[in-house]
């Protein structure tokens, strides 16, 4: 009796994985515990361990190919030469049906459209409304949002524009709230030839210079897709506001100089920010919350995610219970997590389920920035670099080092005053880092 090996679900958000590399080959005997292959998920690469025993009769998804969660990737058999033709046929058919069911009804194929003068010919082609012997197809470019973030057009104007191949984004609406109406489409004039449109920039080539490299279309890896999807969801679904505060870093600079004289330790500014943030979250538990649709979950643990840039994207490994750990331990943990992240070896529990995120671009020379919240977290702290500034102390110009930090807050949970109090508390801790010893 054959056994199906399916693409495992290695994280709650995982819908698809890539069989990065098979670690065994067809005909090998597999025991429980044998590593079958490495699977690239949307966040990391994990080795897939077999729970079953048998001969690897057939690899269905070769190395480097993607597969949906629960899709058949290989077949094990008890007998090395067992005939699995029928079994395989059935299993593949079932996969196909499930994929089709998930994808929903297939749109009828439509002929490609000739790009109109005003568009670069991108975007999905849509059949026109009127059925006819040869349906005209219109280019549907991404409309430029008008009122309320979308193009307002009457149903008739929309249809006329589609049939005429006029991009709604290029039509000025004269109706209420900028609604595009019939007259606007009728009076539409395409931009003159030679007008500025999207396209390759023409640059003069000088004899001695190498030709400009051709444009490349790079495939999206799993992580890029997930970053795109999650962060777009975040920005589209959350009312976010930003509050920035400046911190005098004099005390921290002094503290770090002392700490880093201890053998075996090299505490970074970010380590201290993480520790201080954890303390501040303990004081303001509302900031350590999640918006759950019809209630707010106030998290008991303070698990701080640290944004780490890695090859092909970024990931946020977690310092669990950061409020209960000393600076040394936090520093060591972050270093270990960063190394693992860069090697693509983080286990799912090391990057899933944080309650707050710290993102620091100070080391790149960024003064200040705003970060996008990782749902379902309620906030994210964006930390800039340390900059010298001149300030007046009783009329005397002095110099000090300052750091700007910006809190992005989900307004459904956090109000302005609370964000200000949280930042103020955090600032006090950072300006008096000795309190972190308490």
């Amino acid at each position: 009796m054959p056994t199906s090996m399916l693409m495992p679900s290695l994280s709650p958000t995982m819908e698809e994985g890539v069989v990065a590399k098979w670690l065994v080959k067809e005909g090998d005997f597999i025991k429980p515990g044998t590593m079958l292959c490495s699977v690239e998920t949307d966040k990391t690469t994990v080795d897939y361990e077999s729970m079953d025993e048998g001969f690897l009769r057939k690899i269905v998804v070769p190395g480097g190919s993607p597969a949906k969660v629960n899709q058949l990737i290989a077949v094990l058999t008890e007998d090395k030469n067992e005939d699995i033709t029928q079994y395989l046929e059935k299993a593949l058919k079932k996969d196909q049906e499930q994929l089709a069911a998930k994808a929903g009804p297939k749109p009828a194929p439509t002929p490609a459209a000739a790009p109109s003068a005003a568009s670069n010919g991108s975007g999905p082609a849509r059949a026109s409304y009127t059925p006819g012997p040869a349906p005209r197809v219109a280019v549907a470019p991404e409309p430029v949002p008008s009122a309320g973030g979308r193009v307002l057009a009457s149903p008739l104007a929309r249809r006329m524009a589609e049939e005429a191949g006029i991009p709604l984004s290029g039509v000025a609406g004269s109706g209420p709230n900028g609604r595009i109406i019939r007259a606007d489409v009728e009076n539409y004039k395409p931009p003159a030839k030679g007008a500025k449109t999207e396209g390759p920039v023409q640059r003069p080539l000088y004899g001695s210079l190498a030709p400009i490299a051709p444009t490349q279309d790079l495939p999206l890896n799993m992580m890029r897709k997930t970053i795109g999807k999650r962060l777009l969801e975040s920005t589209q679904s959350m009312p976010v506001f930003y509050a920035t505060m400046k911190v005098d870093m004099g005390a921290i600079n002094g503290l770090r100089a002392q700490l880093n004289r201890a053998p075996g330790y090299k505490v970074s500014v970010n380590d201290i920010v993480v520790k201080a943030t954890a303390f501040a979250l303990r004081e303001f538990p509302q900031v350590n919350s999640s918006y759950m649709g019809d209630f707010i979950r106030q998290n008991a643990n303070i698990d701080i995610c640290v944004a780490v840039s890695i090859d092909g994207g970024l990931i946020t490994p977690i310092v669990r219970d950061a409020d209960q750990k000393g600076l040394g331990l936090i520093s060591t943990e972050i270093k270990g997590l960063v190394a693992k992240a860069k090697a693509g070896k983080l286990a799912p529990d090391e990057y899933q389920g944080g309650t707050f995120t710290v993102s620091n671009l100070g080391m790149y020379g960024v003064d200040e920035f705003t970060a996008i919240i990782n749902p379902p977290q309620a906030a994210i702290l964006a930390v800039g670099g340390i900059q010298p500034e001149v300030y007046l102390d009783n009329g005397v110009a002095k110099q000090r080092d300052v750091m700007k930090m910006t809190l992005s807050s989900d307004h459904r949970i956090i109000d302005g005053a609370l964000a200000a109090q949280f930042l103020s508390g955090l600032k006090s801790l950072l300006e008096n880092p000795v309190w972190l010893m308490l």
Binding site: S154, P155, L156, G175, I181, A183
Partner: protein, 326 residues
């Protein structure tokens, strides 16, 4: 072609149909000796006698029930309600028996009866005499609802209603009884379910029936002065609606104003608008505008009555908004 008032045209239709078919008879309050509260049945008692033109007591449930029974037995009664407000007394007979008998008897009994009378606002007769009932009766399956806007239609439509084998609610209007117009001689039946374009136009379709068509005509004149060419569409039959005619007009103008004398909420105009949104969404260049009576019982005071009812000015404004000219 003779010019006559609406009430005369209705009288002619009754008389011609009673001559044509002896099963047709009239019953209601004051229809015989008094010649009708609004003189619609004038002369019919003299012509056809008390067996076919019957004065009833003030008993809407009784005489409507009697008419349903008569229709079940093969006669063709024409019930006159002195005002359609009084039909509420007979609501159960109309809805539970007249409308449903054909279905509930498995097709054994046709109910060829007409219920006619003035519908809607009268001149300062206050709340209890000013209801518009078209949306109420159009709601229930089994009834056909008709409402003429001029004498010629009134005659042709009523003749079709009397010949129809299903119960028909025939809604006239007290203020339109004296409306004059040319009426063709002879049968000239207006088929049930057939609307009519009363004025050709290209910029906006104004859908109106009964007395509202007179206001719409005045509004169209005003609009024409400003270069807005309104098309006037009279559905004539309110159930079933002439959707092919409505579709042809909306495809031409792309904008719609629906005018009704009844209240706004759940008024018949909302069904007209919904049917257009459902079937003609891709042909609309603007949201459908609705003009209707305010959400209050009809005031007695003349100035308040005028304020709550649709007016030429309100229709003009709505048409301008629909045509993006406001």
């Amino acid at each position: 072609m003779a010019v006559m008032e609406m009430k005369e045209a209705i009288n002619q239709a009754l008389k011609e149909e009673m001559i044509r078919d002896e099963k047709v008879f009239i019953l209601g309050e004051e229809v015989a000796e008094y010649n009708g509260a609004y003189k619609v049945t004038k002369g019919l008692l003299d012509h056809f006698g008390p067996k076919r033109v019957i004065d009833t007591p003030i008993s809407e449930t009784g005489f409507t029930g009697l008419a349903v029974g008569a229709a079940m037995m093969g006669l063709r009664p024409v019930v006159e309600f002195m005002s359609f407000n009084f039909s509420f007394v007979a609501f159960d007979q109309i809805i539970s028996n007249a409308a449903k008998m054909y279905y509930m008897s498995g097709g054994l009994f046709n109910i060829p009866m007409v219920m006619r009378g003035p519908n809607g606002a009268g001149p300062r007769v206050s709340s209890q005499h000013s209801h518009n009932v078209e949306s109420l009766y159009a709601h229930f399956p089994g009834l056909r609802v008709m409402s003429p806007s001029n004498p010629a239609d009134a005659k042709g439509m009523l003749k079709s209603a009397i010949r129809c084998n299903d119960p028909v609610i025939f809604l006239e209007n007290e203020l339109a009884y004296s409306l004059k117009g040319e009426v063709p001689d002879g049968d000239n039946l207006v088929p049930i379910g057939k609307g009519d374009i009363k004025r050709e136009g290209t910029d906006v379709t104004i859908i109106a029936w009964s007395r509202m068509m007179s206001l719409a005509k005045a509004a169209a004149e005003e609009l024409a002065k400003e270069g807005i060419h309104a098309e006037l569409l009279d559905p004539r039959t309110l159930k079933p609606l002439d959707m092919p005619l409505i579709a042809a007009s909306v495809k031409k103008t792309n904008r719609v104003v629906v005018v009704e004398e009844g209240h706004y909420f759940c008024g018949l105009g909302s069904q007209v608008a919904e049917s257009i949104y459902r079937d003609l969404f891709d042909y609309l260049d603007a949201p459908i505008q609705r003009i209707a009576q305010g959400e209050n019982p009809m005031p007695y005071a003349a100035n308040l009555e005028a304020a709550t009812l649709p007016s030429v000015e309100k229709i003009v404004m709505a048409a301008k908004q629909a045509a993006y000219r406001a």
